[in-house]
């Protein structure tokens, strides 16, 4: 008996297959979900993958938010279903307001693709329990709309409640306020980040490291022990 983790494919998703592969490598069962299908096939958790869903038209994530599958995801996430949004998935989560703030064009206006050092600030969420607070990890970053913004009150609240889950180390690659790379909701079941853990899960590809695997082993342990 293992956990079943759904990965949604939107038109324009790019990293859905890599994400399913990462889930399999972690020991869970990946389940492909389709944007027009309201049915989540009884999965125990959902990942919104990276890419350019609906061409990023209007705003990144703005149209995906209203897709049939997201209607179900939004309701279930509020009821406690673990949801991870990576890159475009993070943008979708801010557009749904499951996570506060918004994502904007990088401050230097360039697409950026590099290995990025991060600090795991919160190791108590459903997706980060296999890390330790303060742990430094290196995973790929690739986006053009990666600048996290929120008003000062929201930023102060996130800091005070320990909801800044990941922070950029070294350089800030996109002008994100307070070096924020990822955040969690209050309950810790919904997490979003711009860098890509699913591209750092085996030695052959990506960074050559496995620093990203912990996202998927974290959720697996949580679900299996639940």
């Amino acid at each position: 008996m293992t956990a079943r983790i759904g990965v949604i494919t939107f038109p324009g998703s790019l990293d859905d297959r890599d994400t399913r592969r990462a889930i399999r490598l972690a020991g869970a069962e990946p389940v492909a979900l389709w944007h027009r299908d309201k049915d989540l096939k009884g999965v125990d958790a959902v990942v919104l993958p990276g890419g350019f869903s609906y061409g990023d038209y209007l705003r990144a994530g703005a149209i995906s938010r209203f897709s049939p599958v997201m209607e179900t995801v939004i309701g279930e996430a509020r009821a406690g279903l673990p949801v991870l949004g990576i890159c475009n998935g993070f943008q979708v989560l801010t557009e749904t307001h499951l996570l506060p703030g918004a994502m904007l064009r990088n401050n230097h206006l360039h697409f950026i693709c590099r290995e990025q050092q991060l600090r795991v600030e919160n190791a108590d969420t459903a997706w980060t329990a296999d890390y330790t607070a303060g742990q430094e990890i290196r995973i790929p970053l690739k986006n053009v709309d990666g600048r996290y913004v929120a008003d000062e009150r929201t930023l102060d609240m996130l800091e005070a409640e320990g909801r800044v889950a990941f922070r950029y180390l070294g350089m800030n690659p996109n002008g994100s306020l307070r070096d924020i790379a990822g955040i969690t909701n209050e309950a810790g079941n919904v997490v979003g980040l711009m860098p890509h853990p699913e591209h750092a899960v085996e030695p052959l590809v990506g960074t050559g490291g496995t620093d990203g695997l912990g996202f998927f082993t974290s959720i697996l342990k949580k679900l299996v022990n639940a």
Binding site: L58, R59, G101, A102, R105, H108, L109, V149, A150, G175
Partner: protein, 98 residues
């Protein structure tokens, strides 16, 4: 039949690097005397019926939930050649005066 225009702009406190890039190009192109540029979006909606208060209320709902992300953006709604209304303070004044 009526045309309703929705303008969406980043809130004043949000950094707009695209507007800055345009502004920085201006002196090189010989356009002097422009101290700031901010870039936004304009939507032109063709209504099937008249732009009455009910129709405009629906457009404002559409603008607030979809065309603009009010976490980072302000919007105004106006009938072409009519007064504006939206979530910007200035626009509210116009609406109150109309």
């Amino acid at each position: 039949m009526a045309r309703v225009v929705v303008d969406v702009m980043l809130k004043p406190e949000i950094l707009d690097p695209q507007g800055q890039a345009v502004q920085r190009a201006l002196p090189r192109l010989g356009f002097d005397g422009i101290s700031d540029v901010r870039q936004g979006k304009r939507f032109e909606l063709e209504l099937d019926g008249p732009a009455d208060e009910a129709a405009l209320a629906r457009v404002r709902e559409l603008a607030e939930t979809f065309l603009a992300n009010t976490v980072i953006e302000d919007f105004t709604v106006r009938v072409e050649n009519g007064p504006a209304s939206g979530n910007e303070p200035a626009a509210e004044t116009v609406q109150a005066a109309s």
